[in-house]
């Protein structure tokens, strides 16, 4: 070594060695951080869907997600600007269960109700924003989006399906000014599953509206663009309005139910006007979906400023078009990417997070 260092060549060699070592370290690239995960834990307890967390949930680890973005500024939005959603998951041989909890100071249920006026007439209450969507007389909702095969979802989350108006008010070339700030659709051949929990329209029936997003990006093909309900054999929503459109057609048999802002089949009674000024009647009627659109069960309960929602679905669904419209938890060693969104009494303006989260099974 001594004689090596003594020669100019040896000295230069040492220098080169040194810089080479530094350089090779420099070339090592950083490892990308993985998504945060929600771990589903195996259970052998029966989970009762009642919007109350039984002790079986205690053994499931909690994932907390901060939602603090909104896609647009609705001019009459009075809801939350951020919310922390806490998630847990359990599974058994056949089903997966989710527990969702978040604080919401207002329980919003008055979705487009009819209200009796001073002159005896009936008026359907609405509060539309600049895009024609309601943020005043609406309902609390929650959406879980599950990736089926959308490019980039695992990294960017729901954002891959989100398309907002460009500078000229267009989406995919179609003028959407005054119609919608944004539209959801995927790239060709890709779908995303939506579990759309609706506190007024479906919660009383113990169901979630099971929907999906595909690549339809033309309003002439589908008014909701890429958003669709799953295939169904029956059930759904009907506006509660008489033929003259001057008032409701039906009412609830027992009007005392304060949460009754929809009319369920068991309550449905022809409308007889014995009401006083200010009385309200639901603007919508709901029947349980049958078929693929009605294969997710859920029950939410609002108590002391907090929504608690329990959800149950088969790990693998078998309804019509289930392979395209539903995420299938068929391989429990895989990670399933999802996103979550909260609608605080808003028709479309929703609190969201950036990126995606992963569900894994343990």
């Amino acid at each position: 070594m001594r004689s090596f260092m003594q020669t100019p060549a040896g000295y230069i060699g040492s220098l080169v060695l040194l810089s080479g070592a530094a350089l090779s370290c420099a070339l090592s690239s950083a490892v990308q951080a993985a998504n945060e995960t929600l771990t589903s834990v195996k259970t052998d307890t029966t989970i009762i869907l009642d919007g109350m967390a039984e002790s079986a949930w205690d053994k499931a680890p909690e994932l907390s997600i901060q939602l603090d973005n909104l896609p647009y500024k609705a001019d009459n939005y009075g809801g939350m600007s951020s919310v922390n959603v806490r998630l847990k998951s359990l599974y058994d041989e056949h089903f997966i269960y989710l527990l969702v909890q978040y604080n919401d100071p207002t329980k919003s249920l008055a979705r487009f109700p009819w209200e009796k006026q001073a002159d005896g007439s009936w008026k359907q209450l609405k509060g539309k924003d600049q895009t024609g969507h309601d943020n005043v007389f609406y309902e609390d909702k929650l959406a879980l989006l599950w990736n089926i095969n959308a490019r980039g979802f695992a990294k960017k989350g729901c954002d891959v399906a989100c398309h907002m108006q460009d500078d000229s008010g267009k989406i995919n070339g179609f003028d959407q000014t005054g119609k919608a700030p944004g539209r959801k659709y995927t790239r060709d051949g890709e779908t995303i599953d939506i579990w759309h929990w609706k506190s007024v329209r479906m919660n009383p029936l113990g169901l979630i509206d099971d929907q999906y997003i595909d690549s339809v990006n033309d309003p002439a093909v589908n008014g909701e663009w890429g958003r669709h309900g799953d295939s169904k054999t029956g059930g759904g929503y009907v506006d509660n309005v008489n033929a003259e459109k001057t008032g409701p057609a039906f009412m609830n048999r027992t009007q005392g139910n304060v949460d009754g802002y929809t009319i369920t089949p068991s309550q449905k009674t022809p409308f007889v006007d014995t009401f006083r000024e200010g009385d309200r009647i639901p603007g919508i009627m709901s029947e349980p979906f049958t078929g693929s659109r009605g294969d997710i069960w859920a029950k939410g309960d609002w108590r002391d400023g907090r929504w608690t929602i329990e959800i149950k679905r088969a790990l693998v669904t078998t309804g019509e078009n289930a392979g395209v419209q539903d995420v299938q938890f068929s391989d429990l060693s895989k990670a399933y990417s999802f996103g979550v969104s909260v609608f605080d009494n808003s028709q479309i303006d929703h609190l969201y997070h950036e990126g995606a989260y992963d569900l894994i099974f343990k």
Binding site: A22, C25, L27, S29, L70, R151, V160, M164, G182, E354
Partner: protein, 244 residues
Amino acid sequence: MRISVLNVSAKLALSGFLITVILAALSATTLIGLLYSSHDRGFNIPEMDRVQSHYSDSRLIAAMKGPMYQYVTEDGDIDVIAKWIADGAQDDGFFKDEVMYIISEDCQKCHSRNSQMSKAITSMPFSSYEDIVQYTEGGYSWTQMARTAHIHLFGIAVFLVIVSMIMAYSSFRPWMKSLLISAGWIALWLDIGSWWMARFYSGFAYVISVAGTVEIVAVCAMSGLCLLNLWCRLPAIVLEPAEQ
């Protein structure tokens, strides 16, 4: 004259200087490690792709690789846009079909004059070719380069001439002295020259890294050797024959 024959006060003065230079070099190395890695504390090895991106990428590509990376659907999208820029960033069919598609999927939601998204950047719209092309020029501008170069050249010249002169009057073998002194100055010119050249060919990022490393090593080596020469007896092998 040799620095080893100086009086104790002078030796203390030079030693203080040399130790401070070593500390300063360590600080500079720390700073470089922080600027070109994804960490915000500790001593880090610079990541080559970040060095390259800083000196040669356009603002658009640097953003897609850096702070805006989370909004990029797939890494391949960055390559598509980089190819477009490399081919001259023309308002051509490739721009309309490929680039605008990626921009509209990944950027426009917030980068739009009318965006109301929570993170809307309405002041930097990406709606048209004109909006986008201004972020495609790579690397340092003339003004940035002139400002940064004059500060670094003047500053480094001053301390490096003092380190070099101390080295020149040390007792080491002449070839060692000439080699380290020359390496220090030449590495400096290569380093700063490459800041500018990397704008035209990103391969100069490697020259920046190697020259920067040589620079730091040469400065620390000269300072360390001179400190030894001031206070220690050195083995004959490293000394100029006349000193043995």
